[in-house]
Symmetry: D2
């Protein structure tokens, strides 16, 4: 019998954590955080908080149901914080258990560990290759299948058990035209489908969108269509996107080169993600600069403001996060942003009341300063309904556990599964944080 | 010729200020603040800011267009902060000009002045009676007509000019069954209509609601229907509403008496508004207590928490405002709020992203503590479409200037005016902050 | 073991049908229709269609899972069409099985049977009293507990089994101030709770509303607040509400009497529902008239249009249904409706795209004719979250099956149940049309 | 002095009609219909209705204000029905006045005239070239400037007057990567801006979208991303889009060729628009077929259903319009559509309650038949906020009249104009149907 412990991400978009148990042995997949739960407590500093407190405010998963189990491996699907951000708080619960992930993912995880203040993470951490199958115990092996998402080196994690594969597909899209050249490994997915999938655990954030998620190439075209456009002979150009979205950053840097401007990436977060990406050969930074230290930021931005037409600033702050570069600019710091500047949001608004409020505050301030804004030059990194349908068709799983979403999203996934012949309660299981799904058949 | 200076409240719900000019003489009506513009700047303390700064962030009206005019009077329609809150910042621009308003309004204005830290307000302030006509210059007189709203002593302000009346109806509803016994003075409004109304300046916040705004008696019944209900044998009962909503507070106190609990009003704001109301005989506090000092709050709430079934707490914080009592309770301060408590929101959610976020944070925290919540036991204090239509019919004004609303609200009012035979640009004027509408006919 | 067959109303608001099986014997509760599924097929005439066709388009429940079971009784909870409307199509499947319900319910069911064109219903039909317990087999008994809703004689249906009670609470509210004097039988509900409830099957349409549903007395006050209002000296007054909402019709008739107008109820549907209600002493029609025949309608409305100030017309058509009286008026038939008329909608908009469109068409036409409209003088007849919580507390059921709603509504109910200590999949079961829930514990 | 008569499209998206008067001479621009006003009257047949009736139900503009004026020319901006559809009803009011437009536009207008049943249109009709300036009177000349939109041969219409140009930019986007190769004539627009623009009349449907409208190349990529995708090995493929959207149809035909299927365009409407387009060399139909006659449709679709994998059906009905091919398929006619078919909506949902309902009915029926649906592979043809801003910058008009939108859209445009330094009432004029805007400066 296989048990699926749905520990986090089954009542929210965030703090993803799932555990697969076979014959008393457990593989943990992902250890994420939920940032909005930190946000509603004004005085909370995530790094300084012990795990007990964080669990209490719902910011990290509660791993109690598996605390005393025999955990044989921890796998990270990709490097986003809602999948790896709780490593420093939770990995110490499983001291010697090895952690696996693709190179970019593991390097980001190590960076998280380094910035932790309270806990020490001693787990061995290994960078795996796509296609490699890691035997983590006599019975269990894990495999990382190449997939596309909004961060490099994303993977669908497969736990191979004697009863069949458990496939964890959280945070993926099928991008057949990725500008970075990454490709979904349809061939391997179909093979796994033929070998036999016992359980599919799939994300459900955008399953209600009745379409196929557009390729990142569409985002690239949206940006090019805007920046190469006759009417855009603006002075100051400032773009903001996700710091981990290497493909998007690559596109912006290329655009800067093509319009004869220097791309300047501003902020520690951008420095961290592009730094590791560059080290792995995932991004070409030619023609661009990265400002990391507060001093450099201050000094260079002062220069930029004297000759705005020569630069494309790439900054953090697309959600109006406190302390981010764009947020500080809107507050009148760093750079006298104003009516000569255009801000390009290459990101959507994360639909959470706190984000909406922060973004609103940001936009209101920018508007009061006369800044021109262009929004939504962006496509999502998450699978839509028709992508999910195709995954089900390739894998033909015996059972499905919708994951990574609010309750209504999980139920939307369940409705899709019904369209494909499954029955809720029989072979589709809508779970909640802290539950265990028993796959007995 | 009459000029209407639309200084504030013509692009937002907030910071209301309008000036009426006849033959070089000016009457100012209302001087309000816009709190959400303070909120988006985290470090701003309203009381400590000079008017120039507040104007810059859009928190108070820009009175530049009338700064050098001959202002003969300032009239306050009612005591809400979006109508009187800027008194300490703006009244000093018109040093000796007398300020008029009903008793409750003037007493609240004086309280605002007292708490001001930077400016000194020396203007003489007079409490007027409904029906009284104050001759403020050779040509101009002002009159306060009784009306109903969500605060006592509200008035429709009329500026009588040789060319006819200018009627300012901002923040009103037609409540024919007010539990406090206040009544709209239909008789006087019809008389003024017959005498001739040159301009009607009317609020437009809820003009899109195609109904008549329900009486406060409906809110009373909603509360009674809830509190007298068999299923409500809860331990802790906590109600939250607007501190200035004396009628609502009266209803809650009566309910507490009827269910054998002691009503305890917690917080400085509630103390201020009920204190002045009591002094004027507007509220009966029998059977209730008011906690003003931090010490008293701390001490009494500790006692209450030992015997919750004996009390009905009435607190501030229905919008999740930082520092409000309910917000602090949700943060784990003051009172160990939890699964034995029911919080009754006798207030709607103010539809501004920052409020929505604060309220969301509040509700999330309360929910995490297991608190039961009951929402929307409330009716609005603002006129709906059919109330506005009736006002137009009674007054039959020559011209209309929609006020007190976002642009789209003003245009909705203009559409109503069209239904009643007016034409936009001819006798309905949709204005913006800082404009002047010239009434030449 | 008890099985709950969730046959209809588990994926929609409409076509409710549930069956309770104990030891091979089955009690059917409700046989409703889903009108919007008829509406999207333009040429469909419900009365003329055989059940197979209606099942195919999703307009009536598919009773296949119980067709060959031993059905011992059919119980109707109340007289709305989404609970009894399929009687003529489905009851013939169970030829001699007796049908039970309160008087008003059974009389309406008989009226449905009479207007059926294709099927003959031969089942014996019995009018039961609140409190009466009908032994329908050796093991099973059914009981009708008094409850309040938007139609008279509503009941919570209890199926008593040797393993405990199965309580079916679909379409109810807790109205403690009903103008008709009906009262929820809290005493009996608490008793049943003490005797032991095996399963609660509860509606979930409004469980997401975090409040208590207001009493019908609030609707009464909204209507009075409007009609007795100084500004309402209109000529033509036309009110529209649900034909089966006897309490609301009673309020309108009383209002007409009080403002010196004659209430005229127009249309067959109003005639049917008030006719039966009068027969049972549920409504006092004094001072009013009912127009049933097309001739009478035509003739009387012509007279009314000559002296509009003497009448209050009460008509069907609040959702813009094709063929309804108000819809026809808007099309220029029956009565020259126009700028002298005010239409009062004492009903909400049913949130289905087809209804929304029909209502939109209705309002657009009325607006083009200059008709004044007043909306939302209405309260719902369905329980909100806090009513549901109280029901759970009174009954303390071992298991819960949310019913009567779209999937997302059922899941919202499940979330409420979780707040009260239940677990999804363990003792709360979110089902779908056609499923069987097995209660084994 | 120039007068702008805002006759239609100033309170809705539809029935566009504007007239420019200089010194007693009038140029009419566009004569459109408003289909949703026809739709809400079930029994109305547009073609059979006289203009008086159509005006009464709001389906065509009321041209009364200019009926007795000296009209010297009629100009059509492009061939959509909301711009030319009323020609047969209104052009006869101006018997000998010549009508001008680009080739595709005029040919479509003639086709409209031909299908008219009641009126005879005798006006001379001329096909103009981009760049050509037609002197229509001693004082007035009209010019058609090339622009991009969702139909070929769209133009910005310029009326040259002695006081400066009046520029009519209704229905345009700035598409710099149009797959059809069409280009906005930025050079000429800038020249006209330099020569002096007295009035800009600009559409406002999407001005609230704070972005630049994506190029049609993005829609092309969305389609290719979907159809060339591994997971799309479906049997039946059915695409639906606007019959006049030649670029989109071209893309679909090319895709069909590339995936080895035959494109079959089904329906009279598609035949009409592609027929004229082909005649003008605007579309390459190689590899495709067009079914016009009911017989051909019936016969060929029967064949297609036997070998679905060989075809890509392109059909009408994306909004669920009654009588359209897809609507009929959903009703079970023409082709046994079912679980082997995928329907691709290359169109958005037109946000009108009647459309929403029809589309909902369509989707519900398709879903009940097991059809797979893919939505929103589409981009808009209308300018967004940043396109509008650029147009204002190029033209630098003295005055602006927002057009082509509901009141709230016009006001959103006015807000944009304010950002660019205009003032409402001074040089931006929010008008209504039937008004005249006098440009006196």
């Amino acid at each position: 019998m296989i048990n699926i412990y749905t520990l986090g991400g089954y009542e929210e978009v965030g703090k993803n954590m799932t555990a697969v148990e076979y014959n008393g042995e457990v593989v943990i997949i992902d250890m994420g955080i939920r940032l909005d739960r930190v946000l509603i407590h004004e005085d909370v500093e995530f790094q300084k908080m012990p795990s007990k407190e964080l669990r209490k405010i719902g910011a990290i998963p509660d791993d109690t149901p598996i605390r005393n189990k025999k955990v044989v491996a921890i796998a990270f699907s990709h490097g986003h914080l809602d999948h790896i951000g709780a490593i420093a708080k939770l990995a110490p619960h499983y001291p010697d258990v090895p952690i696996y992930g693709t190179s970019y993912t593991i390097k980001l995880a190590k960076s998280e560990v380094k910035s932790e203040q309270y806990f020490e993470v001693k787990n061995p951490m290994y960078e795996t290759q796509y296609g490699e199958i890691v035997q983590v115990s006599e019975n269990l092996a894990i495999e990382f299948v190449q997939i596309t998402h909004s961060i490099p080196h994303s993977s669908i994690v497969v736990v191979h058990t004697p009863e069949g594969a458990v496939v964890y597909a959280c945070d993926y899209k099928f991008d057949n035209n990725s500008p970075l050249g990454e490709k979904p490994d349809y061939k391997r997915l179909k093979e796994i489908g033929k070998e036999g999938v016992k359980v599919l655990i799939a994300e459900s954030t955008r399953v209600a969108e009745q379409t196929k998620t557009p390729s990142e190439a569409v985002a690239k075209m949206l940006l090019e269509d805007f920046f190469y456009y006759d009417g855009m002979d603006e002075k100051g150009l400032i773009a903001t996107t996700f710091a981990s979205h290497i493909a998007r950053l690559q596109e912006l840097i290329e655009i800067a080169n093509n319009i004869g401007r220097q791309a300047i990436l501003v902020g520690r977060s951008l420095a961290k993600y592009t730094g590791i990406a560059k080290q792995l050969g995932l991004i070409k930074m030619k023609g661009s600069r990265v400002l990391r230290s507060p001093n450099a930021v201050q000094k260079v931005l002062r220069e930029v403001s004297q000759a705005r037409e020569n630069y494309l600033l790439i900054v953090t702050g697309h959600q109006g996060e406190p302390g981010a570069v764009l947020t500080r600019m809107a507050n009148g710091e760093l750079y006298n942003i104003g009516k000569d500047d255009t801000v390009v949001f290459s990101a959507g608004v994360i639909p959470n009341p706190l984000n909406i409020a922060q973004r609103y505050a940001l936009e209101t301030k920018l508007k009061m300063k006369g800044v021109r804004m262009v929004k939504n030059l962006h496509v999502s990194g998450h699978a839509s309904r028709e992508d999910h349908r195709y995954l089900i068709k390739m894998l033909n799983p015996e059972n499905i556990v919708p994951a990574h979403g609010e309750f209504r999203m999980l139920t939307h996934y369940a409705e899709l599964a019904e369209e494909e012949g499954y029955l809720i309660g029989r072979d589709v299981f809508v779970s909640r944080n802290g539950y265990k799904v028993e796959i007995s058949r």
